[in-house]
């Protein structure tokens, strides 16, 4: 099947208008030696056949619908309100292009403007852009901003920043020859020995990979004393209960927007979030929506400060980003509007309560030892298990649980071979948690 509407008669009419005798003639410009006749893949199938084939592939997977999800490390099983994709699936939004023609794009532009406002409110910073790819590349963009602003190339990664994010930073940093140094963490799980001397930026994750809360004010002090930007990779779901990072000294906040309105999607599409202070606005990467008026004085929204962007500034642009993740960014906005201030607060309180309950139970009933127990956590935590975490997870799968992420998978050489990272969202009921703890306890005995 294909989606071209051409009848044989249409083709004839069109060829006559062009003045050629066949469609092949239109490809004569391709040198003969380069021409191929078709593709070496199977021919097409009917819609019903494709849906059947894809459903069969989907059935080979076990999803978070089949298994109760305690897995996090950057992707979380929060509730996605039903209305989010009900409205975002509308073709006027989903099948539109980047809003370069504002007269035809007020829907996307206004929603992005609302999104930017919400991100400013959450982060306590002045300006949010209209979205990036994801939390990892967002971090690399934030570092580029700091490098440009300070004309320095040293970057300090403070404490346990998710290696998946730090990995993207390292890959992209190679292009700009950045000198990236990681500080490691102390016995409390927090960043230690942070030396910001000569650094463009200090990068910290809040909560960090282990789920513990970093001392942001202290890191801000260290960074600012050395003239470096403090970049905080912040979990937005915590910002109903945690102070806005901007109010604690963060200069740039980046985030993974997935937890608001975006499904797990096997890792993407998600939504990269970035916000900064007014002083850095001209170094901000990506799209930015501004409010203005039209010729009749009516409120209108447009893409603005485009002189930062690749289509105007080319090699001098602040970033190369063009197509980003707009629809996922809109999902963040719609979900945040659904939660509202009270919902955001309750979301945070539930995460904290359920995470603490789960950790306490695991320690009490499963022989687990809490890592960094004295340091505050939000919705994720690490425990040492009396058995191999990967084997425990495998056992738990057969009992219907996605038990978490063995930390050695993310940090192979950090003496974390017996550690499991567990995430507990507002969706995990006491019944699920109790059953989970029971299964982990049994697994530790069975696989030990």
């Amino acid at each position: 099947m294909d989606f071209a509407p051409h009848t044989a008669r249409d083709v004839e009419t069109m060829l006559a208008t062009i003045g050629v005798s066949s469609v092949d003639d239109l490809f004569n410009v391709i040198p003969a030696a380069l021409r191929v006749d078709g593709l070496t893949i199977p021919n097409g199938h009917a819609e019903a056949e494709v849906l059947r084939e894809m459903a069969a592939l989907a059935a080979l997977n076990k999803s978070a619908d089949d298994l109760v999800c305690f897995m996090g490390a950057g992707a979380y099983d929060h509730h996605v309100p039903s209305m989010v994709w009900a409205v975002l699936s509308r073709g006027e939004l989903a099948t539109s292009y980047t809003p370069y023609q504002p007269e035809l794009s007020q829907g996307v532009l206004q929603t992005l403007f609302e999104y930017q406002t919400m991100i400013c409110e959450l982060t306590g910073l002045d300006i949010s852009n209209a979205g990036l790819y994801d939390g990892g590349s967002g971090l690399a963009e934030a570092v580029n901003l700091a490098v440009g602003a300070t004309k320095r190339s040293r970057v300090v990664v403070a404490g346990a920043v998710n290696p998946l994010y730090a990995g993207v930073l390292a890959t992209q940093g190679a292009g700009l020859s950045l000198d990236i140094q990681a500080t490691g963490w102390g016995s409390d799980g927090r960043a230690r020995d942070v030396d910001a001397e000569g650094a463009a930026a200090v990068v910290v994750q809040q909560p960090n990979l282990f789920g513990v809360l970093e001392d942001i004010p202290k890191l801000a002090e260290i960074a600012h004393a050395a003239g470096a930007r403090l970049i905080v990779h912040q979990d937005l779901t915590a910002l109903g209960v945690l102070e806005a990072p901007g109010a604690l000294g963060a200069d740039v906040v980046v985030s993974e927007g997935q937890p608001f309105g975006n499904h797990l999607n096997f890792g993407g599409p998600y939504a990269g979030v970035i916000a900064c202070r007014t002083a850095d606005v001209r170094r901000l990467p990506g799209r930015l929506v501004g409010e203005t008026v039209d010729r009749n004085g009516k409120r209108a929204f447009v893409l603005t400060l485009q002189a930062r962007e690749q289509h105007i500034r080319r090699e001098k642009a602040t970033s190369n980003i063009c197509t980003n993740q707009t629809l996922n960014t809109l999902a963040v906005a719609v979900a945040l509007a659904w939660f509202g201030p009270q919902g955001l607060r309750e979301l945070g309180e539930q995460c904290i309560a359920r995470a603490h309950y789960t950790r306490d139970r695991l320690v009490e009933h499963a022989g687990a030892e809490a890592l960094f127990q004295e340091t505050p956590i939000f919705k994720e935590f690490a425990v040492r298990l009396p058995a191999d975490p990967a084997a425990v997870c495998e056992y738990a799968t057969s009992e219907g649980f996605l038990a978490g992420v063995p930390l050695s998978r993310l940090m192979p050489n950090a003496d974390l071979d017996d550690a499991l990272l567990v995430a507990v969202t507002e969706k995990r009921s006491r019944e699920e948690i109790d059953a989970f703890v029971h299964v982990i306890a049994r697994a530790c005995k069975e696989v030990a």
């Binding site: 006027e92 504002p102 007269e103 499904h263 890792g267 501004g290 010729r295 603005t304 090699e315 904290i352």
Partner: protein, 507 residues
């Protein structure tokens, strides 16, 4: 066509105490207050809207009605490939077995997802003539940067320090921006009279410090670079690599392959050639395919089939990988859509993509050129063509005026002021999914607008007259930056000053 009634901001709909959310009953003990240190506790709640769910659904539904999408009508944005996005792909992406997968699940639980990726890799290699794919890049520009970092890693692996990447002056802005982010300098090669790479100019730029050349083929003027084999030889002769920007791959699918042209690195925009929806500016997907000698440098891990175990696995590579460029595996939801599209169309259907894309562009070009000049009349366009509104400008209407007036006839305008090398450029890409009736109607509207330049110039200068807003004051937006709402903000009611020529490229 669109809703012209103003829609308040969601914050202006807010009423204290109203709510949309619901939260599970807290069935575990609440955490003690001191669970969060006082210093880190939120002092003042963020100003989020307080609205009912019904308010939200109406709000976004109304906003959607103030937005134009392919599902509403013709969207001939040059270089953007705004073709119909099949709905079956949406059903596939929403299957819980895909949509509800966590990216870090062990291989045993994701056999279907890995198989989907491995089979999509095979299809993309068949289309491009390359050997191996990474799915991590989230968009075309992300693919560019990834490809250039691979180029850099390859040269460094060979202890070969190189400085420059050559790109045509007609290139998309992401090309030079990506080159710089990869740590290279940009060398621009001029286009010749026919809109193709000027071989003499290229010859002068070639040298041992050239890391590679980045080019789109058909190029950004919609023209096939017929000397591509020679260009490849020139670049390869100094040890450089050839990068194919897949923005225009939809013109040649099933007709020829970048690999046969001599390309080493190819990115694809699945949201163009493979019909996944643009989403108002993403999500897209920019998978990158490379020749065998560059495969070890691809981001890792990569999906693979392990014949010995008969299982699909994540393969880590041998340590030469540049590392990851995405937090996880790329935009899987988009890859699942593209995979559905490839299965639905197959070899026969994909051939129609290029056939009818090129047929439509040439037909529309033939219909329009009595009123509008082709920028490169000596070259036959492929899937898109570039007009210049020079003649219209002389009569008092700029490309932007024509574009804005077309809105009043129910169409999205073509791309204007891109490529930069064409004066008063209007770039038209009809795509293969449009019918002859649509193309005729668009042609009629373009001719009407052309006549209006003389008969009713006011309509062009004031256009659009029927859209949700008239032309916004863009200079004011930049000068008096308002990038967020404040409770005491009110849009000024006074007449905005008319702005000078708006000649920014719009892609």
């Amino acid at each position: 066509m669109l809703n012209t009634d103003d829609e308040k901001l969601v914050f202006e709909l807010s009423r204290p105490g109203r709510r949309a959310f619901s939260m599970p009953t807290l069935d575990v003990p609440a955490a003690p207050k001191e669970a969060i240190p006082k210093q880190l506790s939120r002092k003042k709640p963020p100003m989020l809207p307080e609205v009912a769910e019904r308010d939200l659904v109406r709000h976004y539904t109304r906003l959607s009605q103030r937005n134009y999408g392919i599902d509403l009508g013709f969207y001939p944005l040059g270089s953007c490939s705004m073709k119909y996005n099949p709905k079956l792909a949406e059903d596939v992406a929403a299957m819980p077995g895909f949509r509800r997968l966590h990216p870090l699940q062990p291989e045993s639980q994701i056999q279907g997802a890995l198989r989907l990726l491995v089979e999509l890799e095979q299809a993309l290699c068949a289309v491009t003539g390359m050997e191996a794919v990474t799915f991590q890049p989230a968009a075309g520009a992300h693919g560019e940067l990834t490809g250039l970092l691979i180029m850099r890693a390859f040269h460094e692996h060979n202890n070969d320090q190189r400085k420059r990447v050559i790109i045509p002056d007609s290139a998309h802005g992401t090309n030079p921006a990506s080159v710089r982010l990869a740590g290279y300098e940009v060398s621009e090669v001029a286009s010749d009279r026919r809109g193709l790479v000027d071989l003499d100019a290229l010859e002068k730029l070639i040298g041992p410090d050239v890391a590679g050349l980045m080019i789109t083929n058909p190029n950004t003027l919609g023209l096939f670079e017929e000397n591509i084999e020679r260009i490849a030889k020139m670049i390869h002769s100094v040890g450089g690599l050839l990068y194919y920007d897949g923005a225009n791959l939809n013109a040649i699918v099933g007709r020829c392959r970048p690999g046969d042209m001599g390309f080493d690195i190819v990115h694809m925009n699945l949201h163009k050639t493979f019909a996944t929806p643009h989403g108002g500016g993403g999500p897209g997907a920019g998978p990158l395919s490379v020749s065998a000698r560059l495969a070890p440098f691809l981001p890792s891990p990569r999906p693979a089939f392990d014949a010995s175990s008969g299982r699909y696995v994540w393969a880590e590579g041998d340590g030469r990988s540049i590392g990851r460029v995405h937090s996880f595996h790329g935009n899987f939801g988009i890859l699942a859509r593209a995979s559905s599209y490839v299965r639905a169309l197959g070899a026969d259907g994909l051939r129609h993509v290029s056939d009818y894309a090129v047929l439509n562009a040439n037909y529309l070009s033939a219909k329009l050129t009595d009123a509008y000049e082709l920028a490169f009349p000596d070259s036959q366009p492929m899937h898109e063509f570039v007009l210049t509104a020079r003649k219209q400008k002389a009569r008092g209407a700029r490309a932007m005026d024509v574009a804005k007036r077309i809105i009043d006839y129910g169409f999205h305008p073509p791309t204007v002021y891109f490529p930069l090398v064409v004066d008063e450029a209007m770039m038209v890409e009809p795509t293969e999914t449009e019918s002859i009736e649509t193309l005729d109607a668009f042609s009629d509207a373009m001719h009407t607008v052309d006549r209006e330049i003389d008969e009713n110039p006011h309509a062009l200068h004031e256009a659009p007259l029927t859209a949700p807003v008239s032309r916004p004051d863009e200079a004011r937006a930049a000068r008096d930056l308002r990038a967020r709402w404040h409770p005491n903000h009110h849009a000024d009611a006074h007449q905005a000053s008319l702005q000078g020529p708006e000649d920014k490229p719009s892609i």
